[in-house]
């Protein structure tokens, strides 16, 4: 799109969007910006509290389980799988946007279905992880994991974990709902009648943002 613009275009002279994007897409960007600050506030408050503590539970002890593997010690493996699922569903989302660009309705449907499956797979993984942690005695206000230095940990660790991954999971859930609506609209032929698939692009922006946030959640909770 950008390459088709003649050099020396006066963007601010009026009569056109100075950002060269459709109104809804620009507003989606601004919404994501504000949402980024919401998540930023959560993650930075987590960082501040962790910084103000002398010791903190070891994530490799807390998140070591993998479904069906019993007591095997597999830190990071399950969460890496979740990361992979989310990246993969981001790829299928871009492919749906690409199919929309060439006006290929059938391909859009196909890739939207794959994206929704990816989202549901991620939510299932998270549901399993939460259930497993709950089974170990972790919940809001309850923390069974001792600090790395052997002292008793406060409940900050679990409170932040469940709040932030829960907030992210809720975003994934909303993304799946939005994607389902887009799929239905596409099946009804709404976009074909309009002549463009911009709604798919806006839903896509939101979906990639969910993936983006997960990258930071993954680093803050599982790696650091």
């Amino acid at each position: 799109m950008a390459q088709a613009i003649p050099a020396g275009t006066k963007w601010w002279s009026g009569g056109k969007s100075p950002f060269n994007v459709e109104y809804g897409k620009l507003m989606m960007w601004y919404f994501l910006m504000s949402d980024a600050f919401t998540f930023g506030a959560f993650l930075i408050s987590y960082g501040t509290i962790r910084m103000s503590s002398n010791s903190w539970p070891d994530p490799n002890e807390a998140f070591r389980a993998f479904p069906g593997m019993g007591e095997m010690h597999l830190p990071l493996v399950f969460v890496s799988l979740m990361t992979f699922i989310l990246i993969m569903s981001s790829v299928t989302m871009v492919l749906a946007v690409a199919a929309g660009h060439s006006g290929d309705r059938k391909k859009v449907t196909f890739y939207m279905i794959l994206t929704i499956i990816g989202g549901l797979a991620f939510l299932s993984c998270q549901a399993w992880e939460w259930t497993h942690l709950f089974g170990e005695g972790a919940w809001w206000g309850r923390n069974p994991f001792p600090n790395v230095n052997g002292s008793k940990a406060s409940t900050n660790f679990t409170n932040f974990f469940f709040t932030i991954t829960g907030f992210h999971g809720f975003h994934v859930f909303s993304g799946v709902v939005v994607n389902c609506i887009m799929l239905i609209k596409n099946l009804r032929g709404d976009f074909e009648r309009k002549g463009h698939y911009l709604m798919i692009e806006k839903a896509g922006l939101y979906w990639h943002f969910v993936d983006l946030v997960w990258v930071f959640v993954f680093t803050c909770f599982y790696l650091l």
Binding site: N20, A36, S45, T48, N54, E61, V94, V148, K152
Partner: protein, 151 residues
């Protein structure tokens, strides 16, 4: 709004190159696997010290974020006005992170100096200290809480 869509979409039916998407996918996958490998090596051998590793993780995370925003969200291919209207406010994060993390650090030092209960809690062991001495070392404050820290 309709004219607007016309301008952005007159040439939208040109083909959308899918190669960069797959290249981005492989980059993201490889970075995640590298993070996983580094963490596993650290757990087994303790070799890259935890604070070095944390720096590496942060750089890799920013690289992943860059690729998602630039390629998946297509921002790299938008015009400069749009990029700047998003990038400039995002710079607030630099202040945001530094200010609050440093504040947390200061609060820990103050509590360790003036709050005996806090220090006592930290010295009361309910479990053997974990094999990971590094993250504790990173968060370790003054020498007052040092004893009993090492395995």
């Amino acid at each position: 709004m309709s004219t607007n869509q016309a301008t952005t979409h007159d040439n939208a039916h040109t083909k959308f190159d899918t190669r960069p998407i797959w290249r981005t996918f492989w980059i993201l996958l490889v970075i995640t696997l590298v993070e996983l490998a580094l963490a596993t090596i650290h757990l087994k051998t303790g070799f890259p010290p935890k604070h070095v590793l944390n720096g590496v993780y942060l750089i890799l995370t920013c690289a992943k974020a860059f690729y998602i925003i630039a390629e998946f969200m297509h921002l790299r291919h938008e015009i400069k006005n749009l990029i700047m209207t998003l990038a400039i406010p995002a710079c607030l994060f630099i202040w945001f992170i530094l200010a609050f993390i440093l504040d947390g650090n200061s609060y820990r030092n103050l509590r360790n100096r003036y709050d005996p209960y806090h220090v006592e809690q930290n010295n009361t062991k309910i479990a053997p200290a974990g094999g990971e001495e590094a993250p504790a070392g990173k968060q370790e404050g003054p020498a007052a809480v040092k004893p009993g820290e090492q395995q």
